[in-house]
Amino acid sequence: MYRYDIHDQTLVDERVAQFRDQMERYQAGKLGEEEFRPLRLQNGLYIQRHAPMLRIAIPYGMLAGHQLKALAEITRRYDRGYGHFTTRQNLQLNWPALEDVPDILAELAKVQMHAIQTSGNCIRNTTSDQFAGIAKDEVEDPRPWCELIRQWSTLHPEFAYLPRKFKIAVSGAAHDRAAIQVHDIGLRLWRNDEGELRVKVLAGGGLGRTPMIAETVREDLPWQHLLTYLEACVRVYNQFGRRDNKFKARIKILVKALGVEEYRRRVDEEWAHLKDGPQTLTQAAVDDAKRHFPEPERRPVADSAIDAFEALRQENRAFARFVTNNVTDHKVPGYKAVTLSLKRREHAPGDVTADQMDAVAELADRYGFGEIRVTHEQNLVLSDVPVDEIEALWQELEALGMANPTVGTLNDIICCPGGDYCSLANAVSIPIAQALQERFEDLDFLYDLGPIDLNISGCMNACGHHHVGHIGILGVDKKGEEYYQISIGGNATDDTSLGKILGPSFFREDVPGVVEKVLEVYVAERHEDERFLDTYRRIGLKPFKERVYAH
């Protein structure tokens, strides 16, 4: 975990004081609504449907147990005792009182947290791979690089009023778990034949109302130049991105309009002046960042313990289900990463109560070196669990309602807060997720379907990433009525693709039935062991369309 030194702490404390002053001026009428808006947004504060919403930053999804406990306490004291983890690895509070927000930020600062740049037209929280540092397919731990980017982007004086929001994601593994192709900038750390670290820089991806897959701006940037190159990328966007129409203001529109060659030319021209200047990374700087992410002191796990774990998996069907779906291989033999499911019918996807937060923090202390990760799929991960403790952890998670063995299945739905909370939404999304989880709760059926990403957004801003769900559901508003558009074939990982719309939208109550028909086509058409996505890619949209709209 990155730990603040005096400089980080001073900056966060001064930010709290600054916001308190801004809030006082707003309440005294010295700051108008319009003027206050970007200031509050850049501190994570939205004015929402029922109450303000506060989005708290969880840098690249890394949380310490004591921080999660502090968050639990904050939700009890200032909110309604629960929080919502988002697809960008942050935590949202749905019911804070406006006047309490400076105090909440002060509480966060005490545990080295903040809400800086979790909204607004600036560089947002950098996101990454939830299995960073432990993944078997990892080339380079992305976390130190994310931390360097976090510092570079925090209160950057030049980039606080960009044309639109700007999101960066970093992957350091062979398999992309950070959806880097649908970010404003996606970075992939890799090594060339000489073993030297290089950065692949993608730009212009994004979801929202004009979804696009990112273009490659630079294949092989030497790591020393990461920050100066990012500065050039964002400066070109700041100067040339459209400001006349907020729906055309994201960098994807600029890259598309200029063409990636021209965008690259301008970036390179800019970078020629910045290269080797201030903020050029050195080995010492990177080592200093890496110092914050040491390997935990893992005790050795005996081979016999590994055998016992495998034996239990053979004997106990429920345990086997949990392990198959919610447990991920680790680079160190004898260790596993365990995903805590935040998907269960009683709660909105990604929601956690204060009591659960406390309990997870304690589990992290006992089973996972006091660290928790937040996933892009709105679950939590304990990243370093010895195999001989997984059964005990599983039982504790069962008791907490967080052992739902459905990670990666149709039931593991990504979902935005939707019309129940969000003032932008056209339609509700949580009740759709709950109706689907109810319809498809039979585990054998879910396992038979294999990996399916089902993503729901309540409006075209696409916070629920519906474009990249294998099945995507989008709430739309037609003359005040809620309808749902269904698309299939999206994908957020290595071979990223955007879903195609099946056809006319559906009534809310018809959504589970339509999804069922889509699944029936898949089950009937699939080749042995073929994933839903691959079947779709082979047979196309037509058979699905015919079945769904048949009379």
Partner: protein, 177 residues
């Protein structure tokens, strides 16, 4: 009746509160005129580039850059002779002026006064300062006391900027060695 030219171009703007080098200036002699065709009656003035070029020897004129100015190398060099440069913020949410200021200071080594004009609000000032503005003409409704306080909100920053030529990570390394 106003003439056609007056209708097209807004009247010159003059604001009361000007911050120079972190302090409230005693007075602000300069106005800002967007009229590309005629010099304002009130001088000295920041005027559009074309007009400034036309009156190259006039000591009472300085160039006004709009936020969409494309700062080419030729323009960057040409501006070196300006005694002051104003950069307009047509809306406080338009962040292009920050990049223009940094480029003028860091790339073209501009040494004269760099003044932020237009929709200049209290809570932008510190970013402006870090990007190289040494003068900020506050929008008329802004409280100068709030402005001065806002300028000293932060004692630490992560990035390099016009004044602080190294990033915090570089300074940290220097501290420990």
């Amino acid at each position: 009746m106003p003439t056609e030219a007056q209708e097209q171009a807004p009247a010159p703007v003059h604001v009361d509160h000007l911050i120079v080098d972190g302090e409230l200036a005693v007075e602000n002699a300069w106005c800002v005129s967007f009229d590309e065709n005629a010099l304002p009656e009130q001088l000295p003035a920041f005027v559009p580039l074309a007009l400034w070029r036309k009156h190259a020897d006039d000591e009472e004129l300085a160039p006004l850059l709009t936020s969409d100015t494309e700062l080419t190398a030729a323009l960057g060099e040409e501006l070196a002779r300006a005694k002051a440069i104003a950069i307009d913020f047509p809306a406080f949410t338009d962040g292009r002026g920050y990049s223009l200021a940094r480029l003028l200071r860091e790339r073209y080594g501009y040494q004269g006064e760099l003044r932020a004009v237009g929709d200049v609000l209290v809570d932008q000032l510190d970013y402006m300062r870090r990007c190289g503005f040494d003068a900020m003409a506050l929008r008329d409704d802004q409280d100068p006391a709030d402005a001065l306080r806002a300028l000293s909100a932060f004692s630490v920053s992560y990035q390099s900027d016009v004044h602080q030529r190294s990033a915090l990570f570089e300074r940290r390394l220097a501290e420990t060695h």
